[in-house]
Symmetry: C2
Subunit: 310 residues, 2 copies
Amino acid sequence: MDSATQIDSFFESAPPLKDSSKITDKLNQFIHFDSPSSGRRVVCVTSGGTTVPLEQRCVRYIDNFSSGHRGAASTEYFIKAGYKVIFLYRRGTFQPYCSSLPEDPLLECFELADDSDFQVRRSHSEAVKGAVTNHHAAVAGGLLLKLPFTSIFEYLQMLRIIALSMRSLERHAMFYLAAAVSDFYVPWKSMAEHKIQSASGPLDMRLMQVPKMLSVLRTEWTPMAFCISFKLETDSKILLEKANTALKKYKMHSVVANELLTRKEEVTVVTETGNISVCRDKTRPESEVEDPLVELLVKRHSTYIKDAST
Amino acid sequence: MDSATQIDSFFESAPPLKDSSKITDKLNQFIHFDSPSSGRRVVCVTSGGTTVPLEQRCVRYIDNFSSGHRGAASTEYFIKAGYKVIFLYRRGTFQPYCSSLPEDPLLECFELADDSDFQVRRSHSEAVKGAVTNHHAAVAGGLLLKLPFTSIFEYLQMLRIIALSMRSLERHAMFYLAAAVSDFYVPWKSMAEHKIQSASGPLDMRLMQVPKMLSVLRTEWTPMAFCISFKLETDSKILLEKANTALKKYKMHSVVANELLTRKEEVTVVTETGNISVCRDKTRPESEVEDPLVELLVKRHSTYIKDAST
């Protein structure tokens, strides 16, 4: 099977996306909220891991772990840099403006007050106030649109809808593909309808490769968009080589290479003209590597937009 | 391999639990907060699904889906019935007293106020107030101890610690095992150290059966405790038969049989003396099936305690 046939067969076999026309409406309204001539840049940030169902009535699935911290933090820096952000995130993962909140915010941030009412704990009041006000300002200002997914089937169908909606933005569109997308899946039709029984002995499973959507995103869905993908490995020895292969194979504008254990400290931006190491500012404990990373990519995006007009 | 050897080899191969002595201290303090002669009943409610790592540096894993709604709601009814609850829950799943909150509570429940501060939205104020006050009252009153897990390795090690701590309560101890526990796992030592590469072709995997801990819980860890396990199936035809098999094989006092699609409406409590169907009160829209389910099990637990003293 060639790549186009694989992709067609993936989408044909996928369970249909609920509310796809509603999502398209939301996207069109969000993208064209400013006048189309305003030259506003729009970035689609993908975040969190996708799941692969092992049974049609989903009791078990394979999950690609990702807290979504990278995508959520980057969203904040893109908005700060003047971008409109379409945040395509895995349900339950980190949300923009919430990184300084505890794991269980509602129950940890509040306490009982004397009059049997409750109040925000003083220790968390700045974090809660920041989260609520920044989030509301971004959504109300038309700068942030949040769209949740769970499975690989939802993720890829939504990514296609978003890409087709952003196509008209040409070079002002950017994709920042930080989500951890499954490499393997069980085709919907060959999947067990009911829960796999554990009667006896080991379980043998055969998973198929998910067709690579990066190629079709670049060549067909949004051929003019500025595209950044991510490569995560646990083995540093193969990381840069694999990032370089992805850069060429999928014609990405940059690939952000990151290693599982050090990914919050530093990343390497792999480009056609060389590799750029990006570290967080270690003199400030609260600094994040996403700050200089987004700054660098925004600059490169500017150059990419200017290149077209010269 | 016989069952005891399988269990030993599971625990030996598992990555050691962090903070196990801290957890034991917390448990002992919680369980013996009242004087030991007070006859207070303690229930361990397990909730949410376990994960099975496929790689040691966990990027991918198999997840058993469960929102944790059953465990969280049941915890509230057990506390109402006077029990102390050890809530062993999967990180990120439903929490007691939070069922009427929206998916993203912090961002949906609050709004900006005039003075650039924020306030609780009127539409959510009762839900937020209820969640915060009930949760704090339960924790402060020594009625609720929450312990989170993620993987099958953490879950089973924590369950063993809890069971050993509850052993001295004899018949006053209860296990309400609502968590969706993986049937299959990859032994830690045979697991890929690094991320599985997707270079070419399909992925074949062999998963081993998780040894059945219910037997060892009943016969060795806490032989006197009142034990309730759950059976979830998507196929109603095999559900009651499988629940009955579990009842006998693991010597449970009851098995709660539930079907994926109707599990919020009704369940069947399978016992040695027959099956009891439990439905939620359909005349009240807010009623939950966990209300009559916990009521029934509390009564049966009372009978079980009385039986010992006659």
